[in-house]
């Protein structure tokens, strides 16, 4: 377990170096960045090299391979989403948020982070720290108003409290599959939910977040 965290931390740090355009670090730089002794890192670095995640350059610096870049990037993204969640939504101080994120980023599943990211994205006026991540691929969250006629979608979030109750009663709540039956631009939409056609005004449709499913 300990090694797994360390491995991911190393890949993440290397990824940071790489994506910020700084010169590739040597093992000592890495150790300083991670707050460890170089001796502690050596066996793990060897292991990573063996597994094909990184390659040592002739001058002693370390570079990520393709698979290493991927893992590093993924851990980094988890870190940023968690950090954003802790600081912006739970109101923790940025330092504590970062520390917590450092611990949790190794244990959290891809699905959980995916959903958490979408959840944060759904909150208006928040999540400013997520700008870069938001553009990531496979993030097809949109409002019902943005959906196209004929789309089949899954409701991921209903953001309003007042009208939301009526929408819940009609079956529009997270997890339900809906189909956009009719859409007139600038006008509302008609969605089919549980075999019933429901007409929604634009301002209501804009409250309903959906994911594309097929």
């Amino acid at each position: 377990m300990e090694t797994t965290s360390l491995r991911e931390d190393i890949l993440e740090t290397l990824y940071k170096f790489q994506s910020s355009g700084r010169a590739a670090p040597v093992a000592e730089d890495l150790a300083t960045a991670l707050g460890k002794e170089p001796g502690e890192l050596r066996p793990v670095l060897a292991l990573l090299e063996k597994e094909g995640d990184l390659v040592p350059n002739p001058d002693g610096t370390l570079s990520l391979t393709t698979s290493g870049t991927e893992t590093g990037g993924r851990v980094m993204r988890k870190h940023r989403i968690l950090e954003c969640f802790f600081s912006e939504m739970l109101g923790m101080s940025p330092d504590t948020a970062s520390e917590e994120a450092c611990t949790l980023e190794h244990g959290v599943s891809d699905e959980a982070i995916e959903r958490l990211g979408r959840y944060i994205q759904g909150k208006p006026g928040r999540g400013t720290g997520l700008r870069g991540i938001r553009r990531g691929k496979g993030w097809q969250t949109l409002t019902l108003l943005e959906a196209e006629e004929g789309d089949t979608l899954t409701v991921s979030c209903v953001r309003c409290r007042g009208p939301g109750v009526r929408l819940n009663d009609l079956g529009l709540f997270p997890g339900t599959e809906v189909k956009v039956v009719r859409k007139i631009s600038g006008n509302g939409v008609v969605v089919r939910v549980k075999d019933c056609d429901i007409a929604l005004s634009p301002e209501i449709a804009a409250f309903v977040l959906v994911e594309r499913t097929g």
């Binding site: 007139i184 006008n187 549980k194 429901i198 007409a199």
Partner: protein, 616 residues
């Protein structure tokens, strides 16, 4: 024995109620026909059963008008048996409410209505299995054709049972309910309501709020959402067990024509204008026939009888009132209601609401606002009553304001009988145009100055159905009956008072008083202004009074065309009739009723004065 009918909107509760009791209840193919409770009694094998038709609702736990009515009914222990009416084709969504009702653990019966439509769309429901899951008797029916409705009453008497079905709630919710139950000694349903913020007692509310806040923190979802989700999952589970899909018969997609911008909006405009023109033409023709008939066979023989003057005056007033009542009720209002009934039963009105949504937003309303506005062309009174189906006070206020300006059948009589008859059809249409401009301008202003929130439209689209002649006629008859019951007495009383005034010479005194204003501002002879005032009692009385006071039905010989036009415009615009003011007071309060009346008075007089300057 008392039996309550509960169900989603538009599942046929009212049809079933009508079949069971024979009491006329309005039935429509748009949600929200029954706004108040309807009572009806029937006798079966010496047992007297009282049926209560409740407004259609999607849930028992909300703060809309219909949800409150149904919830208080279910909680009140008033009913011995609750009959849940479900649409077989939309079983899953309909079960949601049934599950809520069954939590009250009262004897129930389930009616699975509209089996024919379900079958057409390829849905087969296993009623026996549904019955065993819910633990209550399930009766499949096709109420509109009267199929199997005969077995409802025997089943109510013999086999209504307390349901056994139970929704599995999230364990946090269950735990919270359990703790509320034990600590505060609450019933199960009260506990679940308290958890959603509906508790009378402050202590309980506080405890429940603390619990629900804790749950909301854990789930990042509101308690209402979690509970709704659990119920929907349960409904889905049941529906999956009992519904079997087959390949449905696919008809042509008429909706594609009706709910797209082109040709949907032109079709909507054509339908509305077509109805108005048809009513206008048929109405004028029929009215003339009825008036002539009463003149020849009642009025003239009566006048020929040579009674003493006072009795003759009273008799004439009475006959005039009846003549006026029938002269507008049947030709204009009944014809209009026939078309409206067709629109409602076909399910077109919900499509019209969808199409009109965007436009009505500009006037501070949303799509559903089209229903009161269209009804207003028949009679403003039921139109204002239907304003209830709008959710916020702001929308109800704007809608009431605009409906009051919509030219109802009585005002159509003035336009047809005065402007069309003495000036021409084009001039008559220009009055409509003028009124439309006033309505649009008023709407634009109101949407800016009225305080309050706007609440968008969430409207279930009724399925398109072929209207049945029987239901269309029945509904039109019920509405016209209501109109006659409200309007006729008022008409007769007003007419007699008017007759007496004239007899005792009070009219002349008033005319002298009003003459300077009338002649200079509106350019009308003083008796015309008196006639306008009588229009407040019933709008079309302005015309009848004018005829009486002018002493001739050939108004063209005593008034100029400009005067006729001004008279018509002022009487159409100014002050709603007494019945409308009364219903406004009931729905939106005395203050706003007075504001609306004052506004229409100013607009009417202003329009008259401007026309007077322009035309003379």
């Amino acid at each position: 024995m008392k039996v309550g009918l509960i169900g989603n909107p538009n599942v046929g509760k009212s049809v079933i109620f009508h079949q069971l009791t024979g009491v006329g209840v309005e039935v429509s193919n748009y949600p929200g026909t029954t706004i108040n409770r309807q009572y009806g009694t029937t006798c079966f094998q010496k047992a007297i059963i009282e049926f209560i038709d409740l407004p259609g609702t999607y849930s028992l736990e909300g703060d809309s008008e219909e949800e409150k009515i149904v919830r208080s009914f279910v909680e009140s222990d008033e009913a011995d048996v609750i009959v849940a009416v479900l649409d077989a084709g939309r079983l899953e969504r309909n079960l949601y409410l049934t599950l809520q009702v069954s939590e009250y653990r009262k004897p129930m019966l389930v009616i699975l209505n509209m089996m024919d439509e379900a079958e057409k769309s390829g849905i087969q429901v296993d009623t026996a299995q549904l019955s065993s899951i819910l633990g209550v008797e399930v009766i499949p029916t096709v109420a509109i054709q009267g199929k199997n409705t005969g077995s409802i009453i025997p089943a109510i008497l013999s086999s209504s049972r307390v349901p056994v079905v139970k929704v599995l709630y999230d364990h946090h919710i269950e735990a919270a309910i359990k703790s509320l139950k034990t600590i505060h000694n609450l019933e199960w349903v009260d506990a679940i309501h308290a958890l959603q913020g509906q508790a009378e007692d402050a202590d309980i509310r506080e405890a429940a709020t603390a619990l629900s806040e804790e749950i909301e923190r854990m789930h990042r979802m509101t308690v209402a959402q979690i509970i709704a989700g659990n119920r929907h999952h349960c409904a889905e589970h049941i529906a999956n067990e009992v519904v079997h899909f087959q390949s449905p018969e696919r008809g042509p997609d008429i909706d594609r024509l009706l709910t797209t911008r082109i040709p949907g909006i032109p079709i909507l405009a054509a339908i509305l204008i077509g109805i108005l023109l048809t009513v206008f033409v048929i109405g004028s023709w029929l009215e003339e026939a009825i008036v002539t008939l009463i003149n020849t066979f009642v009025m003239q023989p009566f006048l020929a009888a040579g009674l003493p003057p006072l009795a003759e005056q009273l008799g004439v007033s009475l006959i005039l009132a009846i003549q006026a009542g029938f002269g507008i009720a049947f030709p204009f209002i009944f014809t209009f209601y026939l078309f409206i009934a067709l629109l409602e039963d076909s399910g077109y009105l919900t499509r019209a609401a969808f199409l009109a949504d965007r436009t009505l937003h500009r006037f501070g309303m949303h799509g559903q606002g089209i229903i009161p506005l269209v009804l207003g062309f028949g009679c403003n009174v039921p139109a204002i009553m239907s304003v209830k189906l709008l959710r916020t006070k702001r929308e109800r206020l704007i809608a009431s304001f605009l409906v009051t300006l919509v030219p109802c059948s009585a005002r159509t009589v003035i336009i047809a009988g005065l402007v069309a008859a003495f000036i021409g059809l084009a001039a008559a249409m220009s009055v409509y145009l003028l009124v439309t401009i006033v309505i649009l301008a008023t709407g634009l202003i109101l949407s800016r100055v009225t305080p309050g929130d706007q609440y968008g439209m969430i409207l279930e689209m009724s399925p398109l159905r072929r209207p049945t002649l029987k239901n269309v006629l029945l509904k039109s008859w019920l509405r016209i009956r209501e109109f006659l019951l409200i309007a006729m007495p008022l008409l007769i009383i007003a007419s007699i008072i008017l007759g007496l005034f004239q007899y005792f010479g009070l009219m002349a005194a008033f005319e002298e008083f009003i003459a300077p204003f009338s002649e200079t501002v509106l350019g009308l002879p003083s008796y015309a202004t008196t006639a306008l005032l009588f229009g407040i009692l019933r709008k079309e009385m302005a015309l009848e009074t004018l005829i009486i006071l002018a002493g001739t039905a050939d108004l063209g010989s005593v008034l100029t065309m400009a005067q006729i036009y001004i008279f018509a415009v002022v009487s159409v615009l100014f002050v709603p009739c007494i019945a409308t003011i009364a219903v406004l007071k009931k729905e939106i309060g005395i203050r706003m009723a007075l504001v609306i009346s004052a506004y229409t008075l100013v607009v009417g007089l202003l329009a008259g004065a401007i026309l007077n300057i322009l035309l003379s």
